[in-house]
Structures are given as C-alpha cells and as structure tokens.
C-alpha cells in the first residue's frame, strides 16, 4: 500500500507545482488590472482594489471600438471558414477522389498551416492597399481565412468521414439530391466538427497580432492585440491599461478551455496527427 501511494503524492505535488507556474503569470496580470498606478509602482503586496484602469481604458483609449473590431473580424472569419470548410470536408471525406489528388490537397493545406504567417504579411499589405480594403475588417478576414482554413478543412474532413455511409445511402435511395443530403443529413451529424472548427477559428483569429498590426492603422479596424501593443511605448508601459486590455483579450480562450475543452483537444489532435 505504502509503495503505491508514495509515487502518487509525488505526482500530485508535481501537478500542483505545474499548475501554480501556469496560473501565476495570469493572476499577476489580473491583479495588476485592479491596482492604481501608484500601487503598481510601489510593489506592495496589499492594495485597495479599484476599477480605475477599466474606466480609463474604455473612456480614454476607445477600447470598446477595438473590441467590436476584434469581434467583427473573428466572427466574419469563422462564418466564412465554416461554410467553405464544411463543403470541402464533405466533398473530400464522402466522395470518391483519386488518392493523389486528396494527398495533394492535404499536403498543400498542411504546408500552409506550417508556414510562418510572416511570409504572408508583406504581400497582404500590398494587396489590401491595392484593393482599397487596407485598414478594414475585410483585410483581416482575408488574411485569417488563409490561417484558419487549413486546420478547419482537416477537422471537418475527419468528421465528414465519420458520418455513416448507410445513412447517406438511405437518403439517396429516398431520392434526396446531394445538396440536400449535405445540408439536411450530413451537416447535422457533423455539428461537433462544426463547433470544433468554428471555436478554434474564432479564438485564433481573435488572438492574432501580426496581421492586425500590419493590415490596420486606425481604430477603424484595429483589434485588441494592437491596442495592447500600443499601451507599451518606448520609454513607458501603461501597466494598468495594458493589463485590462490583456484580461479582455484572454476572455475567448478562457471561456473555451472552461466550457469547450473537448472540442479544443479533438480539433488540435486531428490537426497534428491526421494532417
């Protein structure tokens, strides 16, 4: 008995230590967001909490507008990604394609997913300028499609493949067309996949900084991560405001790990292993 319980205590100690290391940086930012600037500087352990930073972030820095922009570009991306990827996933997963063609598509998607986004930043800057959509949510959506579609197609192809052929065949025999089978039979069964791809697309678009900083320049389209970077100036960091902004930026990821964890796990495992 004692031989067995000893490693267990070691493991739990180790897990608790790991949890503290993981949570501490998050808690520090959260704590700072409720401190007056003078308390941040003092470095004292105890302080009287205040909403001062929250108020000034929203009133003096147009933070509400940045939140709307983040919301618009992330949800716009998600809607288009789901439409394109569910169709592509269904086509690749349920119809007969030659093996080399499927491998070619999958290899292309994989490569795009692996490329550092920086290779797209420059050309997208030039292209969005030319199209006159620079500094609009549309420019961001365009870029995020490239980043989010590969993983979503891989995920939805897996979920389409898991739809039992018998059900589709039965619908076919009943005289349903392929488009009806897709929308009324297959899509409802692919819902967990839609949720997985949708949530991941939303969170990763919401989190992006590189394209937001290179494709926007004003509060017309600027998103939260750029706002965060702007709170850190050359010789001074506005610690109160930056921690408020960081706390808001973390909300989608936070909600996702709390309420939709199995989707995250499932989606990213498909991306890494089946890809």
């Amino acid at each position: 008995m004692s031989k067995k319980s000893l490693p267990k205590i070691t493991l739990i100690t180790f897990l608790i230590f790991g949890s503290i290391v993981t949570l501490l940086p998050v808690l520090i930012v959260f704590r700072t967001s409720f401190q007056y600037p003078r308390d941040i500087i003092s470095g004292k352990l105890f302080f009287s909490p205040t909403f001062y930073n929250y108020i000034s972030t929203f009133t003096s820095y147009k933070f509400g507008r940045l939140m709307i922009n983040s919301m618009v570009s992330a949800s716009g991306t998600t809607v288009i990604v789901l439409a394109v990827a569910s169709l592509a996933g269904f086509s690749l997963g349920k119809f007969h394609w030659s093996k080399w063609f499927v491998s070619l598509i999958l290899a292309a998607l994989l490569l795009i997913q692996m490329l550092p986004p920086v290779v797209f930043a420059g050309p997208f800057y030039l292209i969005t300028r030319q199209l006159g959509i620079y500094d609009t949510p549309l420019a961001l959506i365009m870029a995020y499609l490239v980043l989010q579609l590969p993983l979503s197609v891989l995920i939805l192809r897996q979920f389409a493949m898991a739809v039992p052929n018998e059900i589709l065949e039965a619908a076919h025999i009943d005289g349903a067309s392929n488009q009806t089978i897709f929308s009324s039979v297959s899509l409802p069964l692919m819902m967990p996949g839609i949720a997985t791809a949708g949530l991941l697309s939303f969170v990763f678009s919401w989190n992006d900084f590189m394209f937001a900083v290179s494709l926007t320049s004003t509060t017309r389209a600027m998103t939260i991560p750029v706002g965060i970077a702007n709170f850190s100036q050359d010789f001074q960091v506005l610690y109160g405001n930056i921690s408020v902004a960081a706390a808001f930026a973390a909300i989608p990821g936070f909600l996702m790990v709390l309420f939709a964890q199995r989707y995250v796990t499932r989606g990213l495992t498909i991306g890494a292993i089946k890809g």
Partner: protein, 301 residues
Amino acid sequence: MRHRNLHRWIDDNFKFIALAPIILVLVILVLMPVGRLFSTSFSEVKFVSGGLLFNPIGFENYRNAFKDAVAARALLNTTLLAIISVSVEVVIAVVLALSVGYIKRGNTFFRTIFIFPMLLPPIAIGVMWLMIYDFNYGVLNSVLAFLGMKGPAWLASNSLAFPSIIVVDIWHWTSFVFLIVLAGVETLPHELSESGRIDGATEFQIVRKIQLPILRPIIMTAIVTRTIFAFKVYEQIYLLTDGGPGNRTEVISSYIMRVYFNENRMGYASALSVLTLIFIAVLVFAFNQLQKRVFVEKGGE
C-alpha cells in the same frame, strides 16, 4: 423547369461544386500573395508620389540576404529557440501528461489548467511576462529584492535576454505538446500496465518499458509539429525585447517585419520571406519522411 435543371446540375456535380470554394481560396488567397512575394523579391521598392515603384534588380536581394549577418543571427536564434524550447517542453509535457493520466480524481481540473496557455493571445502572454521581467516594478525583481538581492535587467541584458524569451516560449507552448501527448496517454491500454504490475515491475519501469514505447509515435508527432510551429515565434519578442539587445533575441519573423514595415525595404524583406518559405517547406518535407519511417517501423511490429 429551368430551376429544376439547375438543381439537377448541382446534384450531379456536387463533389466539384463543394470543393470549388476551398480551391478558389487556395488559388486566390495563397498563390496570389506568394506570387506577389516572389515578384517583389526581385525588385527594389521605392516610394514615389502616389504609390510604389518596383525597380527590377534581379538577384541582388538574394545576394544581399546571404551576406546579411543579422539575418544569419535571426535564423540561428530561431533554430536555437526551436531546439531548446521544444526539448524542454517535451520533457515537461510528457511527465505532466503521464501524471494527469495516472491520477483519477482531479484529472479534468489539471487538464484545464495545462491546456490554457495555448489559447491565450500571444501578445497577452507578452504582457504577463513583461510584468514579471520588468526591471523596476517586475514581480521577479520584487521577490529578489525581498530576499535582499538586486535583480538584473532581464530583457536588456546581453546574457539573460535570450534565456528569458525561451522561458516564455516554454510556458506558452508546453500546453500544446501536453494536449497532443495526453491524447495518446488516454488511449494507453490498461491491461499491459496491469500485467506489468502483476509481474512485479515498478511504476517507473512500467512507464519506461511499456508506456513510453507505445507513446513514441505520438511524441514524435508532437515534436515535429511543435518544432515547425516554433519558427513562427513573434509576438512575445515584439513586446518584450523587439529583437534586442543588439539582435540577441532577433528571430526570423521579427527581422522580416522590421525590414518590411519599419525600414520599408519591401523587396529585400520579400527575398528573406521567400528563403524562409523554402526553408520551412524543406523542413516539413524532411520531417514528413522521417515520420513516415517511424510509423512504418511501428507498423512492422
């Protein structure tokens, strides 16, 4: 009648119609920028009134790239960061995943915490560590001051800046490796470990001789994916050190972004991007081959 024909036509060609959007996106949103990247990489871009002037200069940008000491430094730093971070991440993640798999109660609680960092905006992670590393007000130096020591300027120090960045990267990405490895741990057959226990094997032997060999392919996958992802590192460096001090934390992405958007040398930055693209493509191909071999070996058993 015509409407019905259309319906019929869609039905007949549905597999092509359904695939058309993704093909269009790939062609327009991927090939177009990449084409643009290639063409720009052979030019010198000048700002003239009313727009940009693309002056063809042949391979000049590429010749310069191979002589560029900062670019070499950025590539070296990124590679070092990838190797060091991924090695540490894999060790921590495997131990964490095995531990979470081993305990029955509290399983979900720990899993939630360990997955969390990956879902945070990288720039917010930068903010967290800015508050830890700050020379004057940072938590780290406050703790050191409490212990009676004077803390260094972590991010401005020649010797400490790069290790400090690596710590942030490990904090951020261990979560990803953990998630992938845990997926493998959760499918470990209990019977094998159980029969090992009956035969009198210690827990440590069971992990080393039974579980790790089964997990090897999935750990390999995690290493490969994570190593390639490590070459994307950017946001935290932008916020924490911006490549400094003196290029000591410069990485591929931070250097290309600076050359393109701050120095406005678009042609040259494009050449660097093309080289990055080729480098990563080769890496992906090489790792893919390697992985195939590992899986074939595995399948042969």
